[in-house]
Every structure is written in C-alpha cells, then in structure tokens.
Amino acid sequence: MIASAGPNLPLAVLRATGAYAGPLPIDLDKPVTTASDWMESKFAPWAPLALQAWADGDYDHLDRVVFSRADDTAQRFYYYVCELQRRGLVGGPEAILFDVAMIPRQSSLERTEQKVRELADLLGVGDSAIDEAIMPASGAAPSGEQPLCLIAGSPMPDRRLHDAVEAAGFAAAGQTLAQYWGEEAGAVEQGTGEPCAAIARALHASASGPRSFADRADFLADRLARSGAEAAILWRIEEDEAQVWHLPAERRVLEESGVPHLVLTRRDWFARDGAGEEISRFLAEVTT
C-alpha cells in the first residue's frame, strides 16, 4: 500500500498502482515522546505526530509513503525518516520524495514532467493505467438550505472548526489536512496519450500549496465567488509561514467582497485557543 504526504502530488499515478491508500493518516491524539528528540519545534504540527507514529510502527502496513517537495515540512520529514532508517532508529515503509517544480518557466515544467515519469516508472505503472486514474478536480462547495460559511487559510486537522460553524446554523466549506493532501492538482486533461505530461502541466499551474505562483488574493476571491459564501473565516495557524505573506491582500479581498468575515491569525492548529467559541460569536452576529 502507498500513502501520500503533502500537497501537489500526482495522485493519478498513485491511484494507477491500485495500491493507493490515500493521505498518510495522522492520529491527533498521539502522545509525542521520542519524536521530540529528533524533530525541532517549528515543523508543522502534523509532523511530530506522524514521526511518532512512524517510530511506533503505526505505518508498518504501508509499503511506501510519497512526500511532496512542494511543502517544506513534508520534504524535511522525508529526509528525517530516511536518516532515522539509515541509523536503524525507525523502520516502517520506504520514503519517496516527489520533486515538483512550480516556477512559471519552461525548465520547471519539464522538470516536473520528468519527475512524474520517474515516479510512474518507479511504481511500475504505464500510461494507460495512469490515464484511466485521472479524476476531475474536486472542490465543489456543499449545497443545501443553510447559508454557507467558507473557512479559508491553513488546512484544518479535522472537522472541529466545521462543527463550530455548523452549530451556528451554517454549512461549512473548508479543507482538512487530509482533503488538502488528497486534492487533485487541478484540471488534468484525459485521453491525451501523454498522461504524465498532462499531470505535470496541471501540477505546474496549480493554485494550491505554498509553492504555487498563483495570485493568492485572486484565489480567495474566486473561492468566495464560486462558493456563494455568506460568511467567511480566514484562519491561519502559528506555523503557517508561506501563505501568511498574503494576509494584507486577502484582508482586502474580504473587505471588498462585502461578505461578513472573521480573520484569525497565529492560531493553534488543534483549536485549543478558543477559536470555536470565537467562530460561534462571530456567526451569531451574521444576519443572512
């Protein structure tokens, strides 16, 4: 079985193996013990949990885990696990690093295509299987009677913030970490005869992830418009060091949209800081 960790991965190639188990599961209640001896404090909060799980053998049922170069924590995690395995300190599945290059330049596009092909060769999957495994981009907002609240920003650990939104009478749209890691690169053309090239084009142009060169303010404006949100929460965690640079532009988008919004920055990923209560108070004042 194969799991994935990080954004901007060629998921169709993984699915084509018939052994893709989805994003690496993260046990949010895992006590971190030995992992804190190996990993420093500024990694994304999922990382020490996953490293502890790796050390405890929780991932031993997996054969391989594919990490993304498009996320700094994910790529460093790969090197840490490889080193711990080399030194005989942990076992577990084989770690693989997928190198995605996203600079809007021909050399980066070709680099990404080369790496998609190398991964396909490593996993022993051919073009026809990959082409069949291409799926449409996801991301449709939930539809229903209730007004929608968009939760944008950092990927959430689970649905705990969704629950706070829903308890206030809104439908919630926002990505958990697993959804973020399991997100398709974008619209991948099917039936081109060269699926690796098609996947590479989609990855290279992806608007998702910290390495994307897409305009983050436009990305948020587009999500607001497509979702028809009647309220919005921009939630960023303390460890978010990339997208946070676009906070001023994102604030402007929210203000210009006229959508009632709440901006929460430097927050605790586990939402132990009262974020749920703040969301409840905010949505109680939003009239729809």
Partner: protein, 428 residues
C-alpha cells in the same frame, strides 16, 4: 539584553582588521555605484550564483548583508513594526524579510542609504516555503523583476559527500539537479544581458572559478592546520571574518590575496606555538550561525577553564562546499556549488555526517549548538546532528537563542550555561 552583552572579541591577527576595513570600504563603494551612479544592480539571496554577477561586473546587494546592515543601524524593530501596521502578522519569518520591511516602511529619512533604488532584478532560490512570497512582494513593492530559481530535491544521499565533492561533484550533487540549475543560470544570464546591456564573458567567468578554487584552497589549508594544531592558533571569532568577508568577494584579486595572508598568519602562529588561549584544555565546536551581537562570547572561557572554540562551519565549509575540479565545465561546477548549500548545512545525512567527521578531525571535546526558537530553516537538522555527535562521543549543549535577536541573549547567562555544561559533561 544584559549590560554585559556585546562583548568585543580580542583580535590577534593583523589580517582581521584589514578584512573588516576592506568590507567597510566596499560598502561605501557599493553605495556609490548603486545609489549615486545608478548602475544597474541586483538584490540576491546569499545562496544564489553570485559568480555570474561578478563575471558581468553587475553590483549585487545580498539580502542577508543588507539585513545585517539595517540591524546594525538599530532599525529592525522600527521596520518590523511598520510591516505589522501594514497587516502582516508579527510572527512572519524575519530571517529574510527585513529588506522587504524596510521597503514597505518607505521612510527615506531613516533608511540606510536613503533607501535602495529600484534593482534591475531580484534573485532567490526557493529553499523554503516563504522566500518566493517575500521576494515576490519585495520585487512588486520596488517595481522590479523577481527571478526565482528552483531548489530541486536531492535524493542521492551520500553521507560521505564532503569526501567526494571536489572531484566527483557530478555524481554527488546529482546530474539532473545540476542540469536544471545550469539551464536556469543560462536563462538568468540572458535576462541580465538584456536588462543591463552587459555581456557575460565566458573566459572571465572561467578565470573567476579558477581563482575561487585558489582562494578557498588557502582557507581549507588553514582549516586543516587549525584542526591538527595544539593549541588552536586562532579562535572562531577571527576565523569567521577572515573566511566570510573574502567569500562575499570570491575570486577577486583582493579576496585571493587576503585568503593567502590569513593562511600565512595562521601557519606562522602554529609554527610559533601560539594559541588562542595560553591554557587550552577543551576544544569546542560551535554549530549554527555566528552570534554577531556578542562576538566576545566565543572567547569568554578560553583562559578559564581553557575552553576554546576551534570550529564553526564557515571556515571548513570552504573546502567541500566551494572547491571544484572544473573539468572544463565551470558552469556545471558552479551549479554543483550552489545547488546544495542549504541541504549540507541543515539536513541529514549531509549535515550530521559532515559535522561528526569534522569533530573527529579537529579533536573536539564538546559541541555548543544554537537552536533558534522561531526559524525552521535554522533549526532544521540540529537535533539529529546532536544525537549523531553524542553517539560519536561528543557531548552537545543546545542553546535556545537567536543569532540576530540581541534581546533574547544574556552574555553572562550564556557563558555560565556553557561553563556549567562543560563542568558536567566535559571536565577539563
């Protein structure tokens, strides 16, 4: 900050003051070219191929150097506050963003040099998740052009990289990574020629690469001698400026001559039996960036209990990271030099294996490691390196402190902490 902080370091080499004087004059010359003469210039990260700009005689302002310059003028808090006022969170990564903060503050009255004019281009390698956002916004704010360069994944992980980097660099640094970087550098040269009208001279570049090998060879030779010598002739407080200042000007006649002068002074002290301390009993390794705001820290325990910092990364890094057999492929050799600076200093197995090897080479008794609390890039690889050193018999003290933030540093407390650690783990 303790009142005892910012202790000055003792200088024993004549070339140390010469290096700092040269750098001061260089700053004035750079200002003249960039601000007064309005030459085309570039703002670049420290780990970009400076050699291309040197070969084209295009002045560069290195982001890290500019940040240090702003900090030295006590302006960092003012500019970071201005950034927060513009809506950025206060915890945004400060390591590479002080220049952006200075630009966003838009205060020519206080800005060094009255603020920088618009650069022709801004160049950064994408070694972390935030740098493309910092440089992208900085370029936009300055009306300039951002030329990002990939930091491709290094999956051929040879723990003995440092032993093969000089002659077997094609294999060590991975052919596909070198090829990508060479292609990007060709694109960069084309952009520079187009924007500045200056031509890339291949013969000049080739000569520059040869001269860099000569320069770094002198530094490496001195590093080897320091590792073997008892007592250590020169503390890291003097190793650092004599390595780093010439490295900003690598390949220039001055840099080559200065590296030779430094080596010669080191060898003279060894021949004369002179040590940084008259009482050397413990040889220490410093892991992390230099504590620039308190250089006296490194010499505080030299006489009692005789603990001498003989190793920091800057000087011995000159050998494996810089020296390359050119093989008539100078552009590829340069790519191999630039492509892996971050990994070799901050990721296993490269960082940990090299430092264990260096500890053995230099007869290290204990290591002191800086663990900046707020910077993943600087923290990265530290704990695994510490455990590898401990396994190799080298006790390690990790200090939670920042290399640029003097507010969190108390000289007396830090010296006391090291003294206590040495007393417990590495008694003289």
């Amino acid at each position: 900050m303790s009142t005892s902080a910012n202790q000055r370091s003792r200088k024993t080499l004549a070339c140390t003051s010469q290096a700092t004087a040269y750098q001061k004059a260089f700053g004035q010359e750079l200002r003249r070219r960039v601000v007064e003469d309005r030459e085309p210039y570039a703002i670049v990260q420290a780990d970009t191929p400076h050699e291309l700009f040197h070969a084209m005689d295009i002045p560069i302002i290195t982001n890290q150097w500019w940040s240090a310059y702003i900090s030295a003028k006590q302006l960092s808090n003012r500019y970071f506050d201005a950034m927060v006022e513009k809506g950025y969170p206060a915890n945004s990564c400060k390591y590479c963003s002080l220049g952006l903060a200075c630009t966003l503050a838009n205060d020519p009255e206080t800005a060094p040099w009255g603020g920088l004019p618009t650069p022709t281009i801004m160049v950064a390698r994408l070694t972390c998740d935030c740098i493309q956002h910092v440089f992208g916004q900085w370029a936009e704010a300055m009306g300039s052009e951002f030329f990002p360069m990939e930091a491709p994944a290094w999956t051929d992980k040879d723990p003995q990289w440092f032993a093969h980097a000089k002659s077997d660099w094609e294999r060590v640094y991975q052919p596909d990574r070198i090829a990508l970087m060479v292609r990007e550098m060709a694109d960069l040269i084309a952009v520079l020629e187009n924007r500045t009208g200056r031509k890339f001279d291949e013969a000049k570049f080739h000569h520059l690469m040869e001269q860099i090998n000569v320069q770094e060879g002198y530094i490496w030779e001195a590093a080897q001698a320091i590792g073997e010598a008892r007592p250590c002739p020169v503390s890291i407080a003097e190793q650092m400026p004599n390595t780093m200042i010439p490295q900003w000007h690598r390949g220039s006649d001055w840099a080559v001559a200065h590296a030779k002068k430094f080596r010669d002074e080191v060898l003279e002290r060894i021949d004369a039996g002179l040590g940084a301390s008259s009482n050397e009993k413990l040889r220490l390794m410093w892991i992390g960036a230099g504590v620039w705001h308190d250089p006296g820290f490194y010499q505080a325990l030299e006489e009692d209990p005789g603990a001498v910092f003989v190793w920091s990364m800057y000087m011995p890094f000159a050998g494996p990271a810089y020296i390359r057999d050119l093989k008539d492929k100078p552009m590829e050799a340069l790519a191999s030099r630039v492509a892996s600076m971050n990994e070799t200093l901050h990721l296993p197995p490269w960082m940990s294996s090299w430092m264990v090897s260096e500890a053995k080479r230099c007869g290290i008794d204990a290591a002191i490691m800086l663990l900046p609390p707020d910077n993943r890039l600087s923290q990265s690889g530290n704990k695994l390196t510490a455990s590898a050193l401990e396994e190799a018999g080298v006790p390690v003290l990790m200090i939670d402190a920042d290399m640029v933030d003097a507010k969190s540093w108390d000289h007396d407390r830090m010296v006391g902490m090291v003294a206590q650690f040495l007393g417990e783990r590495a008694p003289a």
